[in-house]
Amino acid sequence: MNVVTPFEGIGASVKRKEDLRFLSGRGQYTDDIARPGQAYAYILRSPHAHARIRGIDAAAAKAMPGVVAIFTGADMTGVGSLPCGWQIHNKDGSPMAEPPHPVIAVDKVRHVGDPVAVVVAESKAQAKDAAEAINVDYEVLPAVATMEAALAPGAPQIHEGAPGNLCYDWHIGDKAVNDAAFANAYKVVKFETTNNRLVPNAMEPRAAIGDFDPATGEYTLYTTSQNPHVIRLLMGAFVLQIPEAKLRVVAPDVGGGFGSKIFHYAEEAIVTWAAGKLHRPVKWTAERTESFMSDAHGRDHVTTAELALDKDGKFLGLRVHTLANMGAYLSTFAPSVPTYLYATLLAGVYTTPTIYAEVKAVFTNTVPVDAYRGAGRPEATYLLERLVDVAAAEMGMDRVEIRRRNFIPADAFPYQTPVALQYDSGNYHATLDQALEVADWKGFEARRAEARARGKLRGIGISTYLEACGIAPSAVVGSLGARAGLYEVGTIRVHPTGSVTVLTGAHSHGQGHETTFAQLVADRLGVPVAQVDVVHGDTAKVPFGMGTYGSRSLAVGGSAMFKAMDKIIAKGKKIAAHLMEASVEDIEFDRGNFRVAGTDRSKSLAEIALAAYVPHNYPIEELEPGLEETAFYDPKNFTYPGGCHIAEVEIDPETGKVEMVNFTAVDDVGRVINPMIVEGQVHGGIAQGIGQALLEQAVYDENGQLLSASMMDYTMPRADDLPSVGVATHATLCTHNPLGVKGCGEVGAIGSPPAVINAVVDALRDYGVRHIEMPATPAKIWSIINAGRPKMAAE
């Protein structure tokens, strides 16, 4: 009989099963795969941000050693445009501008890095050599590198179908009600900010191998993807017109995604199409600089916000105007990020009664921008949590008190916000109080004084955040413009001897699913974690699922498994009732055992499974043999993790360098399955949040050249940039999924940036600093210190 130790179920910090292969170099990543006879693709990319292609001469290149073929955009006849998965409508009800996104540029290039030709050769070096011999005749056009430049009258036009470089002009909220609230305000606090553009930089660069079997007509794409079924659907149906049955997409081990590997990229279509043309496998692997120029970037908002308050500091209304950079083309989910993943989050944890937000999405001659860890929610949280601090300062109120005064109370759930979302659960006072305690908020002034004696400026900052994840109810997102369902699928396959294989549409690229999901099975079915295998990332093995992003794998994918386990248990009860000659209603199931209630008669799951697969003594008239169940779970609502992050910093006033000295995170992620994995997810998210706040920025010059195109100029967070992070969880359970889970993948990146900047501004309070933009680099801080004389209060 299988016995699950209490150390393996829900709540246990089981060591990650997958780490043995990762840490011993036995992971199988896309670039590790070598198909027999594979050729190598190198993609020639545009060095210009905006140019007309007058001609491409590849004759000399084609004759070079090892060259198998060279294809340009003109060769890809019949290949469709890369599709966009979300349609936003303008204020007037008309659909957004949705210009074509050719797999390889035709006629025009629109950003540095835009593919112009692909060389397929026997080796990568030969492909590169040949690419250098391709002569592209460019007519360089004036470029627009910023949203301001793109929207200016007379600006160069990037797409014929997007006049004024505008993708959409969207809004949410009741403007009249909002205006009225502002008319009655005691005070209106205005705040402008830029949310810095980021480059995701997963450790594993993107890679793709296209393969084609002429005998069967089947295509296989191996790719670094977070959602292989979505890629199969988008590429098969819209780009290459390959029916699902003839297209297999495999996303093997993937080394980090952070959103950047959700999207369907040109290179996936290029290698698949080329494999079909050449009847040879074709492999492409990005180099790091290529990643900078071709992976979708994140964030990049410019926002003006106004908060109306009454005399007691209660929020009366919020008004937001945001410009969101789409880059040169619409990436797969780009339009949803600054709308339904951003503006709907502007209530945060507060009771603000009216919110009006207007978002203009703008095309520029830059790499496309799409979801990056948090996707819209970090932008909303940063705006709100900085604005609340600014408001507190201008109202002369304590930063904590103004938050408490506006929190949605713990007894107000379910809570309907004025921007569409209905929160199911939360306790913001509790997470705040716990974080203040852990961070020793009260003792801070003594630490500030001690630091000052050492010549350092110490500051503390707080962020009380909320996010919506576990995406998403399909009908709801469908009504908002999503062109996909967002359910998840799970199959529980109980084998004849009682071991279990789980098939999931979620995809693990660092999250530890193989362990967390096994724990769900161990907890419920009583099968040891070692006997539960999780299969994901292969459309040939797993039913149609939607993948991993938006902190959805456990809340949606885990719930699907839970539902499948319901079916296993229900069927098992019938088999057990037959075997033990009892009535089904009398069978109780608890962690691996089917028992006749009130007796000591029981059958293990393994015995039931064996009976199901060897149905000699079996209710064959009523019940099919076998013990395998699949469930598709569509969530009823988003989930709403929230919590409190507190950052403590010290600034060296001579250099402007910020040292993170302390960081406390108290997150409500719902029920925790594996605390160690949750802690790791929160650590990683906070590292990226600190990266955004202090270090990272994609910088374009005015001609659209990416200045920060390598690690030499793009500041990735390193170990010594990060503090020791104190992580705690304070759970209120999600009320609408069977596991009570909310999601933990993005909270770190969402909650932390404003806490850090609030701390930096606090440290600089004697210099009269109202705001400092991210990233708060040493040079930027020094220029503030250099410009302002310390205004020592009460001296």
Binding site: D129, L707, D713, W782, S783
Partner: protein, 264 residues
């Protein structure tokens, strides 16, 4: 990278012979700059002359008041050498602060000095310590060696063999790193040798340079306070997305102060 011929001579004479015969051949020591450039196809040498098998280019020895460091000596060896640690402690600490363990176990002092990257560490030490650069042909004073961004007095085919450093009384080094690359954004090396003070600034300008006003002030009064109010002009200094020329100029004063404090 592009194709190139590969040579691995075992003597200075053989290396020089190959380099003199082929103006497009490049010597390679630790490869910490040249290899990335080759990988990015930014450089197309006809041949690489690998200096790693030339024993006479390696090693550190003290001879009376002079320390001689072979051009092919790795950063890790400079950092851990007892003679260097005792006689020029700031140089040992500087070597320990370069890159990461992998870089320090590949990169060489001679390679860094010959490359004269404005954001490299060693040129500041070599200039402040008034070292002599010994080549296969001649001896060059540090003041004459560093001529501009990635430019030195070395002639085509000429090979740096060793760096001779008169043992100083005091040395100190402080730097602000570029946040992304961790190369030097602005660094200052101070040295007092035989009563003479020399102050060298790296990172801030297109080439390492001496800050003579600070040298005078420190000659009169060896203390951080002596340089605390000396302003470096931003004119001609580097500015980029990580910091303006004004910021770098400001850092010269801050790092000079800290370098003197470091020297004690």
């Amino acid at each position: 990278m592009y194709d190139f011929a590969y040579h691995k001579p075992t003597s200075i004479a053989d290396a020089v012979k190959i380099l003199s015969a082929d103006p497009d051949a490049r010597p390679i020591s630790g490869g910490q700059t040249l290899l990335p450039a080759l990988k990015h196809r930014l450089n197309k040498p006809s041949a690489l002359v690998d200096l790693s098998a030339i024993a006479e280019l390696r090693g550190i020895k003290r001879d009376g008041n002079k320390i001689t460091i072979g051009a092919m000596t790795r950063h890790a060896d400079v950092a851990s050498n007892p003679e260097v640690k005792a006689a020029i402690p700031a140089l040992a600490r500087m070597a320990e602060s370069i890159g990461d363990p992998q870089v320090r176990n590949r990169g060489t002092m001679g390679g860094s000095v010959s490359n004269n990257d404005p954001a490299a560490d060693y040129p500041a030490a070599v200039l402040a310590l008034n070292a002599t650069l010994v080549t296969d042909k001649r001896r060059i004073a540090a003041d004459d060696f560093f001529q501009g961004m990635f430019t030195t007095a070395l002639e085509p085919g000429e090979l740096l063999v060793a760096i001779e450093i008169p043992v100083p009384e005091k040395t100190g080094y402080a730097k602000m790193r570029n946040p992304a690359s961790r190369y030097v954004m602005t660094g200052v090396f101070v040295a007092r040798t035989g009563g003479n003070v020399r102050v060298a600034v790296n990172g801030a300008g297109p080439c390492v340079f001496r800050q003579t006003e600070m040298e005078k002030a420190l000659t009169a009064n060896w203390s951080p306070d002596a340089v605390a109010n000396i302003k470096q002009s931003p004119e001609g200094l580097n500015g980029d997305i990580h910091g303006s020329a004004e910021y770098r100029a400001h850092l010269v004063t801050v790092m000079a102060k800290r370098a003197v404090a470091d020297a004690g």
